[in-house]
């Protein structure tokens, strides 16, 4: 009995048991809801290693080259409860929102860094590439001015992102805990009912 509970607990920690053909649509949801059109959107692939019909869990992929975040394809069990649905939607939405933020952040960081380097070099009267065609790099002290400037200009944006992220993370974890507890409860009551029914028959 203890082992069954443990098994149930393990199943809970690895959420969702059955897969539906919605995995591809889940990806599409992500593509539709991510506002920034990324150059390398991960298109649903047909290779056997991607989340396919036979999977029973969520799948996590390699880091996205733009946002460095790993996409997750969520699986929808049959008999998905409202709570589980809410959790899944929230996770998907948070993932998209995160991806959006970090893509913008990384992109603007790289762009502004390039502009800064070019402007600095121009101020010194140098070309972006030296005689051998290698890119010139600036001293770390000079770059530090840029890094500080970047942080200062984005201060409010970062602050609101932090708050939002903490709130979402906490909500997701609470929902996951509720789902897990409900699953345990259901497993326990189901077993009790089975025991009762077998004892009465």
């Amino acid at each position: 009995m203890a082992s069954k509970t443990t098994a149930a607990a393990w199943r809970i920690f690895s959420p969702f048991t059955l897969h539906s053909p919605c995995s591809i649509s889940a990806l599409n949801i992500r593509q539709c809801s991510s506002k920034l059109a990324t150059k390398q959107d991960i298109t649903p692939k047909r290779s056997p290693f991607r989340p396919a019909v036979s999977s029973t869990h969520d799948w996590i992929g390699p880091p996205n080259p733009l946002s460095n975040l790993r996409p997750i394809v969520y699986h929808i069990p049959e008999n998905e409860s409202d709570l589980q649905k809410r959790l899944r939607h929230l996770r998907q939405e948070t993932e998209d929102w995160n991806h959006d933020f970090w893509t913008k952040q990384n992109f603007s960081f790289t762009k502004e860094k390039e502009e800064f380097i070019i402007s600095q070099l121009k101020a010194e009267g140098l070309t972006p590439r030296d005689e051998e065609g290698r890119r010139r790099s600036l001293d770390s002290e000079v770059m530090a001015v840029f890094y500080k400037g970047f942080l200062d200009t984005n201060r409010v944006r970062h602050w609101s992102y932090n708050n939002e992220w903490y709130r979402r993370n906490f909500t997701i974890t609470m929902l996951m805990a509720r789902v897990a507890l409900r699953n345990i409860w259901r497993t326990v009551t189901k077993r009790n009912n089975k025991n009762n029914s077998t004892s009465t028959t």
Binding site: W10, F13, S14, P15, I42, K45, S47, P48, F49, R50, P51, S55, H57, D58, W59, I60, G61, P62, P63, S67, N68, L69, R70, I72, V73, N98, W102, Q105, N106, F109, S140, E141, M143, A144, F146, Y147, K148, F150, L151, D152, N154, H158, W159, Y161, N162, W165, Y166, N169, I172, T173, M176, A177, A180
Partner: protein
């Protein structure tokens, strides 16, 4: 009897048939991107082996050169090697090597050829062409390149020959196979064109897609990996250092040493540290993904779910703090809980808000030795604050030097650290606190924690770290920062050890002081 281009390849492979066999066996199981060389043999199809270049290390170019020389001298042996090739293809699949054997042979080959002019010892084992292991097919493809021109290479590579790469677990073999790739490349260069060009990454989009596909993992708990995952979550090495500093605080307390209490308090402090580290990682998943230093953490990689991580944290924290409160004393338990709170709820959010996070972090680092002291004595004495002071001052040169070389990552991740926003303050503070260490060492005997030998023998290491901090202050470059950081790593354990050796010997309170007993003896001996 065999296609004419086979003979060419046979000659390319050179005088050593084992080399040739191994060339065909060797793959480049790296998944990391451009560094790929693929080998594949189709025994059933047209058996033209083709070599495709991959990225290679220039250091092995010399090996390629030596092979080339031998090649020229040993042309008559071409037929021999070609015949071997045919033999290989006709081998019964049931004799094919397992992948492990393959790698072993590869290693043997590389070891043997580590010296430039060494002959490879003939291997008896048959050459394997394709290895199939569950779903991780490691296909190797050898593509012959008619020219080395990169533009042509793309037209030569055929989509159906594109193969997939092996599991990440085999990436450790990358340097080995890169050597082999270099040899192949330089050797085949003799056939194609007269010059050797540096390797160019050749990977079609489809190959890249397939490679990325392989990196999708199921989000499920692999029980066998859990200890490793937990160790990473808890930052086990950092926890070990924290427990060491707490143990130092315990050892320096002027009370008889109680081993059981020592063990229980160390365990409790260790568990509290695990909790704090785990919650920190739980909060910082998207930030950690974007920084090179932290992108392989378990939560970032999805090895466990956030709920699991929080449960682990609670499972460590609640027993840890309870142990400290009940088995040690309430003061230590309170300090443990305070430390967890400071680290997770103050330091972690502050990292992104203001540079004061460094000072809060220094307090967090200073609390463990204080806890060790209070665990031993039950009260917060001057010595406790002194031990905490050592750690507090040490944190600044340590952390400021570390953060100096991570400025770009911190900036992109939105972390507000002194090294990014106030660089000169960063250097100044590091220097100031390194000098403060000297002051604190001098204060130690004044507070009766150590004898007067301690400031003297600790002076060399304190002066050294202050000197490095001064260099960092003046030069402020990556080299001086790195030196200061690495010095701080050995400086602290050394300092604590010296303090322990110079610990003030505790006098038993029942015994009268020696001078008084002498006076008593004299008094009694004097004639009344």
């Amino acid at each position: 009897m065999y296609p004419s281009n086979w003979g060419k390849v046979g000659c390319i492979r050179g005088p050593h048939s084992e080399e040739s066999r191994l060339f065909f066996k060797l793959g480049q199981p790296s998944f990391g991107g451009s560094d790929v060389t693929r080998l594949r043999m189709h025994p059933s199809k047209d058996a033209t082996p083709e070599l495709r270049h991959g990225h290679a290390l220039s250091s092995t170019g010399l090996v390629g050169l030596s092979v080339k020389q031998k090649l020229v001298l040993n042309v008559p042996q071409c037929n021999q090697s070609a015949r071997n090739l045919i033999q290989l293809h006709r081998r019964d699949p049931s004799n094919w090597l397992t992948y492990q054997h393959l790698i072993f042979l590869k290693r043997q080959y590389v070891i043997k050829n580590s010296e430039l002019h060494q002959r490879a010892i003939p291997k008896q084992a048959p050459a394997l062409t394709i290895v199939n292991e569950r779903e991780d097919t490691i296909e190797r493809q050898v593509q012959r390149i008619p020219t080395i021109d990169p533009a042509d290479r793309h037209t030569v590579s055929q989509p159906e020959d594109v193969n997939s790469e092996a599991q990440p677990g085999i990436s450790t073999l990358k340097p080995v196979t890169e050597d082999a790739a270099e040899q192949r490349d330089s050797v085949s260069g003799t056939v194609g064109t007269s010059h050797e060009t540096p390797h160019v990454h050749v990977e079609t989009d489809k190959a890249k897609e397939e490679r990325l596909d392989r990196q999708w993992k199921q989000l499920k708990v692999i029980v066998a990996d859990l200890p490793d995952v937990y160790a990473k979550l808890a930052k086990i090495k950092l926890t070990a250092l924290v427990v060491t500093s707490a143990a130092a605080g315990f050892a320096m307390a002027p009370v008889p040493f109680d081993p059981l209490l020592f063990f229980v308090s160390s365990l409790g402090i260790g568990l509290a540290s695990c909790t704090a580290n785990t919650i920190n990682q739980y909060f910082e998943v998207p930030f950690d993904s974007n920084m090179n230093r932290t992108k392989n953490r378990p939560l970032v990689r999805g090895q466990i779910s956030p709920l699991h991580a929080v449960s682990f944290a609670l499972a460590c924290g609640i027993p840890g703090v309870a142990m400290l409160t009940l088995a040690v004393n309430p003061l230590t338990g309170f300090l443990g809980a305070l430390n967890i709170f400071l680290y997770t709820c103050c330091y972690t959010p502050l990292k992104r808000l203001s540079i004061t996070n460094t000072w809060v972090g220094a307090v967090v680092g200073a609390l463990p030795p204080v806890m060790g002291w209070t665990a031993a004595t039950g009260c917060l004495g001057q010595g406790a604050l002194l031990m905490g002071g050592f750690l507090y001052c040490w944190q600044f040169p340590h952390f400021n030097a570390l953060s100096w070389n991570l400025r770009e990552d911190y900036s992109r991740g939105g972390y507000r650290m002194m090294s990014v926003t106030h660089p000169s303050m960063c250097k100044r503070v590091a220097l100031r606190h390194s000098l403060g260490l000297i002051g604190l060492s001098t204060l130690a005997p004044v507070l009766d924690v150590t004898t007067w030998t301690f400031p003297i023998i600790s002076l060399p290491i304190n002066l050294y770290i202050s000197y490095l901090a001064f260099r960092f202050y003046r030069e402020g470059d990556r080299g001086s920062a790195r030196k200061l950081f690495f010095c701080s790593l050995w400086h602290l354990p050394m300092l604590l050890l010296l303090a322990f050796t110079c610990k003030k010997p505790r006098r038993d309170p029942e015994e009268p002081p020696p001078a008084a007993s002498l006076a008593l003896a004299l008094q009694s001996s004097l004639p009344s």
